[in-house]
């Protein structure tokens, strides 16, 4: 499917053409306007078999005496915008096919939660678990990690030093069933070697790490190495709380970009992303999940957990789910 793009503007011409391996030829021409104050507009025409799509891309004002470097930069920027149109439009059938083949459901191992989620954590989705302090959020993360590490790799980004290898070993040994000691030991080593943990203490470190993870995964797809299927961030709210609020919208910008990057990673590389959030006081004394209104729409699935009276029984409630009714609750037990 060959796609052609042409960018046209007015005034002097300066053009760049590029061919890449997909055989797509793109040309961008930027022209200097005769009046310094007017901005450059560029019309992008994309021909796509029979259809034609037209998109306007407006670029920085380029003054008549600007250097050709600047013009080239702007042309490169126009090309990068066009890059995002490389993805062919997908039909519903293709999406369903992708969902059935690539987006598996990963069971967390905790019955109540698996029932609420319709099987477990679904790849391609961002799942949030919110709850007051000591309500079992970290335990759910550790349990999911130990259960899912059997099938693929797990990446655990830890912001509150609560990743406990001992606890993971405990949980793994619980599932192992009747095996000899050496076999148990080997199984433990195999599973625990596929759980990777990294401490993160800064939102910028997080964005950096996600960026590096993206390039690592792109490379892995080509070479066919081990596959990460679950990414856990415990807890994302402690990274965002120091920057959210105040006069500048910078904090909210970073929070939303982090959410977008996580969802993009989940969809492109077939990961399930699990994040934890804490609670804050709301109106009427009822507690609600932190991070505010802008965060509410970002995760695909939101659960609220709480602990029943200092026991080992926890309750989970669905706040938001893309495929199931919200408001349902279930109890689950975490053994010592």
């Amino acid at each position: 499917m060959l796609t052609r793009f042409r960018v046209e503007g007015e005034g002097e011409r300066s053009s760049m053409a590029e061919n890449d391996d997909l055989g797509i030829e793109r040309t961008a021409s930027i022209q200097n306007p005769t009046k310094p104050s007017s901005s450059i507009g560029a019309r992008v025409r994309a021909t796509h078999d029979d259809d034609e799509d037209e998109v306007r891309v407006s670029l920085r004002p380029v003054l008549p005496h600007s250097s050709s470097d600047l013009i080239h930069q702007e042309a490169a920027r126009a090309l990068s915008v066009m890059d995002s149109f490389h993805q062919p439009w997908l039909t519903g059938v293709e999406l369903l096919d992708d969902a059935n083949r690539n987006k598996h459901v990963l069971p967390t191992g905790l019955e109540g939660i698996d029932v609420l989620l319709g099987g477990g954590l679904r790849e391609g989705q961002l799942i949030e678990i919110a709850g007051p302090s000591s309500s079992g959020k970290t335990q759910v993360c550790l349990h999911s990690a130990s259960c899912i590490a059997d099938k693929g790799s797990v990446m655990f980004l830890d912001t509150c030093n609560s990743f406990s290898p001992n606890r993971i070993a405990c949980m793994v040994n619980q599932f192992s069933g009747p095996l000899f000691k050496e076999a148990k030991e080997r199984r433990l080593e195999r599973i625990m070697s596929s759980i990777l943990c990294q401490p993160i203490y800064d939102i910028f470190e997080l964005l950096d790490t996600l960026h590096q993870l993206e390039s690592t995964l792109k490379h892995t797809v080509k070479t066919g190495g081990y596959k990460i299927c679950l990414l856990i961030i415990d807890s994302i709210s402690s990274l965002i709380a120091p920057i959210l609020g105040g006069k500048s919208p910078q904090g909210r910008l970073l929070m939303v970009s982090a959410g977008i990057v996580l969802k993009k990673l989940a969809h492109e590389f077939n990961l399930a992303v699990l994040v934890t959030n804490h609670m804050v006081g709301g109106e009427g004394g009822i507690i609600k999940p932190a991070l505010g209104e802008s965060w509410k729409n970002i995760p695909h699935v939101r659960l609220v957990v709480s602990r029943d009276q200092q026991s080992n029984v926890f309750t989970a409630t669905v706040l938001k789910h893309t495929m199931r009714a919200s408001g349902r609750t279930a109890k689950f037990v975490i053994h010592n």
Binding site: S133, R167, I168, T223, S235, S238, P242
Partner: protein, 347 residues
């Protein structure tokens, strides 16, 4: 990578964006003086911005596709053997050490809360002394940092506790050895006191400043194994008009403390006060600073009274089950409870 994701200040970012620099590549081959002229800022600032940009560009180029390229990543299997070798800081009370599986964990932030008079400061001083027990006798042989916000640290009491600790070590030896050991210089209470670095804080800005300064301080004093902050919430409870600002400052401070604990592998102990909370028609005691602060620690221990005895209860921990144990405060420091009912109560 976008400019918006770089760790630079908001004003620098808005200047960059309004001058038209939106991506890293547009800044990569720019000279500092050109940038300074364009943005109308000092040359020094332009140099700093370009340094951040080149660091970010280096990081995105250096991934060679292998997962070890991610800095600081470890597998759980490696961490398991490290964690098993980890030594804990004893609290002086055997029952309490038992429910903590050895004592206060290094590399984690532990919050200790309780009503006034329950023994939080005593526990803080005891830990600052116990961390100095030499390695030969089962301790860490390290130093301690004590950050005092309320003025409740008493040097005479610390001297008494150090003496009690030393006598406890000496009790394990025969009379003859004891005399020789007692003469050693490091066995004097004064040398124990000299290994406690004491900071007195009088306002919340000083507290923030000390937290920022600790990073540099700990690089110079590599033997410090415990940081005690007594009490972490005192200066934030009064005189704060903007509660949202308070939440931001406290969460930033807790992230920094977490990072310090992990990178220097030391224990951070935060002592906290209690306040009353009105929920569901009744008052009950909770730790100060509310829900958003309650997530800033890895472990939480609550000290409470139960029929004239002091108890410690593990409220939050990623790896320990909930349990409570009795302890007592004696003239020698924190010790086992001396009541006849000595069994550890499991909740």
């Amino acid at each position: 990578m976008e400019i918006a994701n770089l760790p630079i200040s908001a004003s620098q970012r808005s200047k960059l964006l309004s001058a038209g620099y939106a991506t890293l590549s547009s800044l990569s081959s720019l000279s500092p003086s050109h940038l300074a002229r364009d943005l109308n800022i000092e040359l020094q600032e332009a140099l700093e911005i370009l340094k951040v940009v080149s660091d970010a560009a280096d990081r995105s180029k250096s991934t060679d596709g292998h997962h070890q390229a991610l800095k600081g990543v470890q597998t759980a299997w490696d961490m398991l053997s490290e964690e098993q070798m980890q030594q804990h800081i004893t609290t002086g009370c055997e029952d309490l050490d038992h429910i903590l599986r050895g004592g206060i964990h290094c590399g984690e932030v532990t919050e200790v809360g309780g009503v006034p008079g329950i023994g939080k400061t005593q526990l803080g001083i005891q830990l600052a002394v116990n961390v100095q027990i030499p390695v030969e006798y089962g301790g860490h042989g390290g130093q301690a940092v004590y950050i005092d916000t309320e003025g409740s640290f008493m040097v005479e009491r610390a001297h008494q506790i150090a003496e009690g600790c030393i006598n406890g070590i000496l009790d394990n030896f025969t009379d003859h050895d004891r005399k020789i050991l007692a003469c050693q210089e490091w066995m004097q209470p004064n040398s124990f006191l000299s290994n406690i670095f004491y900071f007195r804080i009088c306002s919340y800005t000083e507290q923030i400043a000390v937290t920022n300064y600790l990073e540099k301080f700990l690089k110079e004093h590599k033997d410090v194994k415990i940081v005690v902050i007594d009490s972490v919430t005192f200066h934030f409870r009064q005189d704060f008009d903007d509660l949202a600002c308070r939440t931001r400052i406290l969460s930033g401070m807790s992230l920094k403390l977490m990072k310090l604990a992990k990178t220097n592998n030391l224990a951070v102990v935060l002592l906290n006060q209690v306040t009353t909370k009105y929920t569901e028609g009744s008052f009950h005691l909770t730790l100060a600073l509310g829900d958003s602060w309650s997530h800033s620690c890895t472990n939480r221990i609550i000290l409470y009274w139960n029929a004239n005895e002091r108890y410690a209860y593990i409220d939050k921990s990623p790896s320990l089950p909930s349990a409570s144990a009795p302890y007592s405060v004696t003239s020698k420091g924190i010790r086992n409870s001396t009541s006849h009912c000595k069994r550890v109560r499991m909740m």
